[in-house]
Symmetry: C2
């Protein structure tokens, strides 16, 4: 069992490294290989929730369309917990990118990535990315629900 857990931990780490390489390379197909069909994604920006791999693909297609040049990723505080059939990872990502209008964006993004072992492949079934924000105003509810 211990060695299975170690193998799961390594597989999860490799999946994350491949995903980051694919984002840097702006390779949408390679990036999407990480995900299960029934993925539920919570992205940094509204809307609050994306259901399914295709919806998540559209989010990332939009990101690549709206940015240009290098995408910086600097991960820290990564922790992986692996089990027999599920695993998760949480980490911080210092992300830097440049919008098509030339605006530079930088943020410290928290990410939680939940994996499921599907016939020996560790696939991401849930992903939650966010930036902490000050106390929400009464209007936050409406904008988040868009």
């Amino acid at each position: 069992m211990g060695s299975d857990i170690d193998a799961a931990r390594i597989a999860v780490r490799e999946s994350i490294d491949r995903w980051i390489d694919a984002v840097r390379a702006r390779d949408l197909d390679a990036m999407m290989n990480a995900y299960a069909d029934d993925l539920v994604g919570f992205d940094v920006m509204p809307p609050a929730r994306h259901e399914g791999r295709d919806a998540w693909r559209r989010v990332w297609a939009g990101f690549f369309e709206n940015t240009e040049g290098p995408i910086d990723f600097e991960t820290s505080e990564m922790r992986i917990e692996a089990g027999a059939d599920l695993a998760w990872c949480h980490l911080l990502n210092r992300v830097g990118c440049t919008g098509k209008d030339g605006t530079r964006h930088e943020a410290l993004v928290r990410a939680t990535i939940c994996f499921r072992n599907s016939d020996g492949r560790w696939l991401v079934a849930h992903e939650h990315a966010s930036i902490p924000m000050p106390m929400p105003s009464p209007g936050a509810c409406e904008s988040a629900a868009q």
Copy 2:
């Protein structure tokens, strides 16, 4: 195995229900029963990351100190995935509360809750709560790192 997974799913659901009841009752001790000592928490507001149960307790003590009256929770889109030794749940929470200064706060909060089976008790080892926000400005990095 199937019945173990069903039992895990029920235990996770019960833990979440107890946690919500405890928040509504402003019962910090009861709420903290859900968590493992080595919890890593990502809260809605900065700082980006809290390490350990005691740090998380301080976050919630602050929330209770800075609000008064009823705390509204309306959950939706809850999905639980349970395994032999790990489980996770993700959901939306429509949260409403009133600050000590009388300001009403309402928000749609996404939550991802990661559980570990510790000698038969399903404890939260990681929690990520957030509100989606518009594209971060160049200053977001600094405020998030506070």
